[in-house]
């Protein structure tokens, strides 16, 4: 049951990353994916009665925080350049 929820969270997040064009929304969806993974890890930890899953969750928290700390300023700098939040405008690295 909880696994299903976790999978749903992950799937929704993945879908959002692929489909949505707004950069902040994409970041939020990536957070969703991470949380889905967290939930599944906790569930597994509880089911197998081992602490390893819980430890991993802590690791994921830290990584996610660090990632957001870098990602938001990047988005900020990009938007300051082009004043547009839409990801389609940022194709400078093509070719």
């Amino acid at each position: 049951m909880l696994i299903a929820v976790a999978m749903a969270l992950f799937a929704l997040g993945l879908l959002g990353v692929i489909v949505r064009r707004n950069m902040l929304v994409m970041l939020m969806c990536m957070e969703l994916m991470l949380n889905g993974v967290n939930l599944s890890l906790v569930t597994f930890a509880q089911q197998t009665a081992s602490a390893a899953g819980a430890v991993l969750v802590l690791l994921v928290f830290v990584v996610a925080t660090a990632e957001i700390a870098i990602a938001i300023p990047i988005v900020l700098l990009l938007v300051r350049r082009k004043h547009v939040m839409d990801l389609g405008a940022y194709a400078d690295l093509k070719g």
């Binding site: 990353v17 990801l87 389609g88 690295l93 070719g95």
Partner: protein, 626 residues
Amino acid sequence: MSHAQSLMVALPLAGFLLNGLGGNVLGKRFVSFVGCGLPIIAFGVALQCLADLTAREGTPLVETAYAWTIIGGRSFEIAFYFDRLTAVMALIVTGVGSLIHIYSMGYMKDDASYARYFAYLNLFLFFMLMLVLGKSLLVLFVGWEGVGLASYLLIGFWFEDADKARAGKKAFITNRIGDAGFLLGMFVLFEAFGTLDMDVINGAFLGGPISAVSASLVGILLFIGATGKSAQIPLHVWLPDAMAGPTPVSALIHAATMVTAGVYLVARMSGIYLHAAEASAIVAAIGATTALFAATIAIVQTDIKKVLAYSTISQLGFMFVALGVGAYGVAIFHLYTHAFFKACLFLGAGSVIHALGGEQDIRKMGGLARKIPVTFATFAVATAAIAGLPPLAGFFSKDEILWFAFASSRGGSPLLYGVAAGTALLTSFYMFRLLWLTFFGASRMTPEAARHVHESPMPMTGVLVVLAVLSAIGGFLPVPHYLEPLLPLPPVPPELQHVETTLVFVSVALALAGLVGVVLVYGGTGERAARLGRNFPLLHRVLFGKYFVDEAYDRLITRPLYWISDRVFLRLGDQRILDGSLNGLAALGQRGAALLSRIQTGSLHLYALLVVVGIVASLAWSWRHG
């Protein structure tokens, strides 16, 4: 072991180095002294060797200079060899050579490149001596190519004129084609005998034909080399053009010595030819054809040197006829006498040209007999000699050739005799024509030339006199008899023996007929000659145009060669196919990369999608193959 032969060879080489490196600095007198003196000393050494040879009753003198290289136990040596044949050749080379060097002192007196001229002349002498003194085909070949080089340098001596330079190149290339055949012949011999030593090879054939090697094949291959060097059909085209060089060069190289190298080669390898009937037949046939061919061309030429050039080709043809019927000693005899009278003729022509200040067209000469008497007298003697009037030298040697062409049981036939006799008639005719048009009749000279006419200086006339005397009495030297132990005369069927005296009379008659013919045609106003020219225009054009052989070679060989090299090899092969495929591969690479780079759209969505697709695919794969 004495070092006489090495000394003989080294002397002209020293002359080349001294004159070549220091000549310009040290002045004309030094150059003359060294340039003429060293060949004269070489002649002395040759006489000394002859004396030694006679003392040993003909046992050859052998000298090994050093080993050129040793491979797999087989040694290629630079060695010299002096036997009767070598003696005859060496004396001609050094003797007539020295005379021509002395003549050149006068002829080239005013030329700016005096030192270079004598350097080249000495270089030629060095290589020619290597050729005749060589013990193995290797040494002979070194000399062979070397005289080709010297000839190239001397023909193109006045190189500021592009045409003259081109004549030199033509000579070298034509010789090279002959050399290709020569090389192949050498290889066949080496493979069969493991050595290039001529003595060993001839000795191996003494007992009869050898199964390991086809004597005829070798004979033909070596003869191809001889055709190149001795200007026989089909490689004769370089000799007339070679007249672009200074006249003494023509006398030395293209009359007396270099062109006779082919005759010497065949005579030296007589051991092979004795057992190569087909090859000998080819030699005789080509010799006869060339002789007639060249003689017909000579009767209409108007340049004094060109007439003599074609005459040389023709006389060389005679020598090859003699070789082809097994009369090797007789061929050498004719080589000997020919050296005398042809050198005299060429040098005489040089004297005429010198006297007229450069004129070479006989249509613009005439009436010179009284103005340059010494030149005239010597020229007349030499002309009579070549025509075959007794008792001059040419009579004896030519008569022997005609006799063996008819009677030799190794290939003599009436047909061969007929062709040779016809050539003898033409020879007499065109030579007397030359004499007549140059020296007799009314003067057709331009006024400047007429004013300029003077007898040549002492070095030139002195040599002319010596050569004329030799042309007169040279026939009394018993050369074939001297060479008999080495080069036996061919057997003659007994039923033909009596014809010999008849043929002698026929020879004399032919010579006189030529003279009479000239008087008839060109005597008086020369109007009969002009009429003949008008009545046979086509024939005249063909003969004057040398049967258009040069043009045929150009159309059939030279131009297609260049065309193929340019169109097929370069443009089609190299540029379109090879480079095209290379550049095409590179273009392929670039286009492929351009195609692949279309994935880099810069759109993060696409990248994310691709990442997900990749993950799903790998998961699925690992699940399948788990």
